[in-house]
Symmetry: C2
Subunit: 204 residues, 2 copies
Amino acid sequence: MNFSSKLIEEAVNAFASLPGIGRKSALRLVLHLMQQDQDFTETFTEALRNMRKHIKDCKVCHNLSDNEVCNICLDPRRDEKVICVVENIRDIMAIEDTGQYRGRYHVLGGVINPIEGIGPGDLHIDTLIRRVSQNDVKEIIMAISPTIEGDTTIFYLSKQLKETSAKISTIARGVSFGGELEYADELTLGRSIVARTPYRNASE
Amino acid sequence: MNFSSKLIEEAVNAFASLPGIGRKSALRLVLHLMQQDQDFTETFTEALRNMRKHIKDCKVCHNLSDNEVCNICLDPRRDEKVICVVENIRDIMAIEDTGQYRGRYHVLGGVINPIEGIGPGDLHIDTLIRRVSQNDVKEIIMAISPTIEGDTTIFYLSKQLKETSAKISTIARGVSFGGELEYADELTLGRSIVARTPYRNASE
């Protein structure tokens, strides 16, 4: 790409440094900014700078938060005796969107992955164990991806939490709702047979 | 999408206000910014603000430029007697990338489009006519999209430029190189037969 302007080139490079944005899309975005008022660019960049500068790590659950403690941890209607352990804040948003959960969260910040050099010390495990003991937590739900790394992490956490009185559960795994059996992968289908649940008629 | 943080929500809305970026992609970009140093966000936003604030409209050809007059207009090696008329600066970049053109440009800023309310007065036509008369331009190449609006614009410009001594040409239209005839659309194929060119052997 031939740029006659250094300023345009730098703006294109800035957009192209973000994941999933190539140089052609970046140029399209830059030209879009040029078509809008200067205020548009100011508002856009201010929102990002403001977010990056002022956002905090919730000191209870490590969710991203506007304050020292996040809204979910501050909400008195949410059960503090139940903690859902997730990898990152996107998982919190996905679970919140279901509207099915009224407990608290704990963000690990990843999963144990020796290949990428992520050990238990790199995750927020210490604070989880402290929370569980101090607040007399009754249940810990592991909402962690069903991968080898995820399962390793659940195994490690369950060992660490053995001393506490909390019950540990994992989110249900099996065939998706609305999915056709013939398209389910073998591992999922196999496990869903092994982990079958008693049938309960809705009218019972 | 449920956001526990107002700052995150505003940053996601900022990204999602750009064309072609949905809310899920916007969230991914915001979380990417969170994973990088604060400097990354500062550099990113600074490049955009700087570009939007300091970029100028080249007063000769209306290309986007770092200075009053753009690099192409300032380049003495480029033939100022040949002007290529384009719709926008993306077209300049596309033509520059071919490396086949050594004249100057003139950016119209669009094409005549009565449906969208764009008339000749909204385009940089006055400055084009002034340039052509003042600089004794020999040739004007219309590199404008072969659409009804584009053809209307070329027709209008040719009328306006009749008084000048400049020769007017349009970029060649026909089947694409490497394209198969059977897949060419009827209009293109039909016109490419009408506008056939004498065969010249490369060894002649």
